[in-house]
Symmetry: C2
Subunit: 231 residues, 2 copies
DNA sequence: ATTTTGAAAATGTGATCACAAAAATAATTA
DNA sequence: TAATTATTTTTGTGATCACATTTTCAAAAT
């Protein structure tokens, strides 16, 4: 049942078992440490985290509703396989979604939050420098999340995270076959635009960040990568 | 625990209990037959559909991951309350999302499917004529769903449905206080644009359909409606 | 050697139970 | 009468069990 070991993740007091299972599986999927096609068994996971089938099933159901997992006809649960076409759908949707999220965040952004974004970006650069891909990925997500959640009534975040969840497993594969994942980012450009409260410029920085980041994989490159990984 | 009675919904052979519970609750929420603020109890629902807590809990968890339900700190589960600001977030996101979905569907649309769209639109007009709001709503959703799922690799549909789920309870309130809900739609315009495979025109028809439909509620009108409904 | 058959193990599903926390109700006090 | 306390009921949670289906693996047959 895969290395959902990752890091056991601290479990805050009062957090329910199914919540913990959900968070742990979610993070494992999002940073690509569970391979597509790998099938997950309820009992296996339950045993791995020393609990029982009931809460694990609830966690798996939630993840399937979030698009992170897929239930087959035989009721087996697995991480969906990636295809070049699906990848392209995911990336184009991500671009539209996050541009919109960024625009709607601008009117609510504070200087304090922009400072926080700079910190996160710095931390991400450090993670990249020490080739710590998993943490760089996590910090990149935190950068985007911190931007979008500036909007207090925002309802888009769960959808953005759903996209991340669906792209995660592919990133896991990519990281095994490509040395550097995020050589460039457009975060500085986004920050500059935010300081000016320039919605268009922010949206365009986000668009570029995505299209030059994960969106940079071309159709043929993806098929090669998937073949290489035995998908 | 509310009239999730609605219609008991036929239960296809082989459908699991939690799946059935999920579908039934989902539909009840989507057509607005469960009021915001109304709290749902696991045992209550289980009893109402003659099953047990386990599968009902799974259904509720899925719905909470889909944005349809909210778990409070006391672990109570309820339909989220609407606010004017949240409503505006939902509608603007819906517009962006569905325009994108429509654009990506155009290259895959077939004449047969366009014919099907015309049928659905006709059926919806009939439902409107006989003031059958719930079915008109369902048929409107089927129209949009049929369009977007023309794209076989589409990953956007769960997100669109999540928006519908979040708007559903408000529609239920609106239906109690407003006579006609969908006096106009832009479906014919969308169909004409589809016949010409004109992406821009299709997107613009969908945009208008949303902004003139549910998007037509103005900030003040929403606050009035919510106050009227005792929210 | 490949396929088919049969037994054993693994797995998903849902009902039930025990426990703790929360809510509702009744009893008591100010 | 209103507020507070105590008791009862309701509710969410998670472990366990039984059952049916599926998968796995070994033996037998073609």
């Amino acid at each position: 049942m895969g290395n959902l070991a990752l890091e056991p993740l601290d479990r805050p007091e009062g957090m329910t078992t199914h919540e913990y299972a959900h968070r742990r599986l979610r993070q494992a999927i999002m940073v690509g440490s569970i391979r597509p096609g790998e099938s997950l068994t309820i009992r296996g996971i339950a045993e791995a985290m020393e609990s029982s089938p009931t809460p694990v099933r609830e966690a798996l159901r939630r993840l399937s509703s979030e698009g992170a997992l897929r239930v087959l006809d035989n009721r087996r649960i697995m991480v969906p396989r990636m295809t070049a076409d699906r990848f392209s759908e995911l990336v184009s949707l991500r671009s539209v979604l996050e541009q919109h999220a960024a625009r709607r965040a601008v009117p609510h952004i504070t200087e304090r939050r922009i400072d926080r974004l700079e910190e996160i970006d710095r931390a991400q650069d450090e993670a990249i420098a020490r080739k710590d891909n998993a943490n760089a990925l996590l910090l990149n997500q935190e950068f985007h999340r911190t931007l979008y959640t500036a909007n207090p009534e925002q309802v888009i975040m769960p959808m953005v995270e759903s996209i991340w969840l669906q792209l995660g497993p592919f990133l896991g594969i990519a990281m095994e076959h490509v040395a550097q994942l995020y050589f460039v980012d457009r975060h500085q450009e986004a920050i500059a635009a935010l300081r000016k409260r320039d919605e268009d410029a922010v949206a365009s920085a986000i668009k570029a960040d995505i299209s030059e980041g994960i969106g940079g994989f071309e159709h043929a490159a993806i098929e090669n990568l998937l073949r290489l990984a035995g998908q």
